[in-house]
Amino acid sequence: MTDISNHNTRWGSTKAKANLARRKRSQWVLQGLGIGALSIAFLMLFLLVSSLVSTGWQAFTQTHIKMQFAVSAEKVNPDNIAAANWRGLVQDAMVVALPGMEPDEARKMAGILSNAAQFRLRDMVVANPSLIGQTVEMTVPTSDPYDQLNKGLIDRNTPEVNRRLKDPEIAAFDTLTADGRITKPLNTALITNADSRFPELAGLKGALMGSFYALLTCFLLAFPIGIGAAIYLEEFAPKNKISDFIEININNLAAVPSVVFGLLGLAVFLNWFGMPRSAPFVGGLVLALMTLPTIIIATRAALKAVPPSIREAALGLGASRQQVVFHHVLPLAMPGILTGTIIGLAQALGETAPLLLIGMNAFITAAPGSPFDSSTALPTQIFIWADSPERGFVSRTSAAILVLLGFLVTMNAVAIYLRSRFERKW
């Protein structure tokens, strides 16, 4: 602290000027540090997002191929349609599409089509048996290596021995491209399909539904319980050592690493209660435990922000304590509570560790129909894809991260909107 009596009041003196210069300099340094810190943060964010976009954007399109399949009556028995040799039909279609090749070689090129082609053809004919004897035209995804080739991710100049696709395979694909069979539409399968071991068929539907069910469970549990606890602590609880102790513990709970909640979920919900593994409901329970402290703290802050005059006025008009809370304080605090809840849920959406422990990182090819079916969640799906050997999953991993980031940004934007639109300043 500067001692007033020693202060040099002659502003023109060299000492005073030096002092002024020093103070200005230290302010610049402080501002410079602040701007530097912000720039580093932005640079990191930019690097993260740009690296994700640069690898992930390719996954938002998928190479498709248009083929004509001759569903001849001699190969498909109308009494047992599903048992026909559908793979053989797909191979036959390739022989027709590649007239310049030996039939045996052309059959091998059926690998250009996704493995799903035979099943889609089968399902189509099973659903509509009148197609037997006709030629069915269908657009199906190509398999992953050819998708990579079409997107320029396989270098044609690599020596043939080191390349995933050999020269004849590339030649066959080029022929099909020249015939105008190859298209690269938007990859809707990324959202509408569940997981698959084939990158060209893999999508996020299962993970999105799983995350939705888990967050729904989390919200239905954590929101009422969190608000109830906060109202009691803030409005009714006597101020004594016990309530202080509870408050400290809630704050501590907010800082507990999420993996601990996962272990708790594994021990209590799975092993003791015998709930199903990999179920989003159990994931939601675990996430609710994690979100609860955040909601309690946010709700208490929002309740505190409501001025005492509101409470006093209501009490003065003869309202009971309970009426004061539910008719006046809670509605006024609601925007703040919702903001806190959404931020808590956004945190829960990105949480991975507890879900890994309760088995939500499984390979599941069907989207869950209820919160009790096995499923993955968005972050665990990213975890699985990141670990898959197929090249197509590299870009799909980035794409899934972008989808997750999109949801997080949306949720935070909603929270900011609610705050700015409904929050009242006193």
Partner: protein
Amino acid sequence: MKSLHITASVLAMVAVSATAAAARDQVRVVGSSTVFPYSQAAAENFANATGMSAPVVESTGTGGGMKIFCEGIGEGFPDMTGASRAMKKSEYDLCVQNGVTDVTEVLIGYDGLSIAVSRATTHDWALTEEQIYLALAAQVPVDGEWKDNPYKTWSDIDAALPATPILAYGPPPTSGTRDAFVELTMHDGCKALPFVKDGGFDGAWVTENCSRMRQDGPFVEAGENDNLIVQRLEADPNAVGIFGYSFLYENLDKLQGIAINGVEPNPETIASFEYGVARPIFVYIKNAHRGVIPGFNEFIQEFVSDTALAAGGYQQERGLTVLAADKLVEVQKNTADAVKFEAIE
């Protein structure tokens, strides 16, 4: 208040239906990350071919899978576990202790382990098991004495190798890949050392002294994520990585396999066992669940069918080294007969 009532009743309903939904209508598979891609393929093909709900496959590591698999019998426990090594006696004992006494072991094929390096490397790599041991083991013979590993660069071991620091990324101890690597490469390399060969040490001594990887930096445990190792190798042309052959196969344009004892890893050399670092991989079936869990029997049939496991089957496309035809017939018969497995010490 009304909304609170509704929430409470919803929660009550949810809790009741939770118990009802526990009745499982799909098969559950856990186990090794090496077997995971093959279980995935079988599960997806099974669902596509039969229209039944697809089995849920979870990658837990071999040891982790055994632990969950052996926890008990009933809907809460998995039906099948994959393993990149045979079930250990201790694991079998745990199974028996929990009532899981009737287990069938199914050998599904072989998986090669590869040591790979970036294609950007300037050196023409080829290693012997002995050299690998000297580079990566915790203790090696130095001037006739068993000591902590002093080697820092490859050229310290053999002047023909590059003068770059030894840096190898490999699997952690919880991984079946690590167990297999230690057993197939490190032990063999150790036995080939003149010090051990001439010293008259037996197999027990080798297991006791040659199983530890060095902890002083050159061997880096890179977690279970093999893609991460692939990325690190791309970034550093002098580093080598240890992982399953399927990862090398998918990344052949970026990485090259290092020949071990003069043999390059490829599907032919792995199948013929010419390439020494290949191991059998298994799945274990809980026989008490057969006929109880819907679709389990059909799934087992799919798993060992010719379309899956025979030469030209979809598992071979996935990178599995398949069994010889007569061996496969035997495996299919044993699986169908639910031959009971007993662990040997």
